[in-house]
Amino acid sequence: MKKVLIILLVVAVGISCVGYYMWNKPHANVSNAEPEFKVGSQELITAFETNEQEANAKYVGKLIEVRGKISQVDQTEDGSVNILLESENPMSTVMCQLDAVEKQEHGTLSVGQAITLKGLCSGYTTDVVLDRCHIVK
């Protein structure tokens, strides 16, 4: 009987530990993850502009590496840095928000600079939005 109780106790503690870990598990690591897609900023924007449903199914929630030219860099009130990559349409950009979970140094970012970033695609508003971005080069 005692043995059964001890086993039950160990199992209970085990479950609690797993539960605690899950509850407090960290956000997924992006900096070391391999992107599922590597695209140019225009290609990505065109995909969403042409067939949003298809592009959603393909890209949303996935880690995407995108290369393009910086058209704008914004720093918001809460300290977030948004790097906008240009496209043929000035109203449409790929907006890459630098990761606030795994912070990294970004150095100087200038308009017209060619840059490659990877991030998680949230979807399409008037821009394609990438979250938790890391500069690849």
Binding site: N24, H27, D78, N82, M95, S122, G123, T126, D131
Partner: protein
């Protein structure tokens, strides 16, 4: 004599064009942001749930009073990764419904002068779509004009059940039936 009349007519015409242009350019001004802030808060007996989205896309047309918000669900940040996962996978089903949108009109546009600094109450009416469900909503927010830039702030409640968001009985106590939503966005003139 003829040339004098022509000159007067020309001046009047030019004045009319310039004034119309000026008036048009002030009142037909469009404002937009791609970095609007929307956060929500749920306070139930066991848990406080809070998430922030600072990449909200929104546009206001001062001429027509039309307002639009596009909110990507996956852009909501939670402190806890597991909460964010549950929010996306179980509650919002964001793979199926990646956006929440609002399209509507400011019905008292005539009371609001976006060219003049000040705080204005804005009565808004329109359609709110969350989790694929669209509802007619009406509410009052604040527009604050400071030197040509505008800030929109608004607090309202969303009843989860209204939008088909199901709370499993297991966690019913943890999540409030109504969620408090706060909008706070700065717009730039286009």
């Amino acid at each position: 004599m003829k040339s004098y009349l022509n000159f007067k007519a020309m001046t009047k015409f030019t004045l009319l064009v310039v004034t119309s242009f000026f008036t048009m350019s002030v009142y037909a001004q469009k404002y937009m942001t791609r970095e609007g802030n929307i956060s929500f808060y749920s306070d139930a007996s066991m848990e406080k749930i809070e998430a922030k989205n600072n990449k909200v896309s929104s546009a206001i047309d001062a001429g027509t009073g039309k307002v639009e918000f596009i909110v990507l669900i996956k852009s909501f940040h939670f402190e806890k990764a597991l909460m964010q996962e549950h929010f996306n996978e179980n509650y919002m089903e964001s793979d199926k419904f990646p956006k929440a949108t609002f399209t509507g009109t400011i019905t008292n546009m005539k009371d609001i002068n976006l060219a003049k600094d000040g705080s204005y109450k804005a009565n808004v009416k329109g359609k709110l779509t969350i989790h694929g469900v669209t509802k007619d909503v009406a509410s009052t927010g604040m527009i604050k004009v400071t030197k040509g830039a505008i800030n929109v702030s608004h607090k309202f409640k969303v009843a989860l059940a209204d939008y088909g968001i199901e709370i499993p009985s297991v966690v019913k106590e943890k999540i409030a039936k109504e969620v408090d939503v706060t909008v706070n966005s700065d717009y730039k003139a286009m």
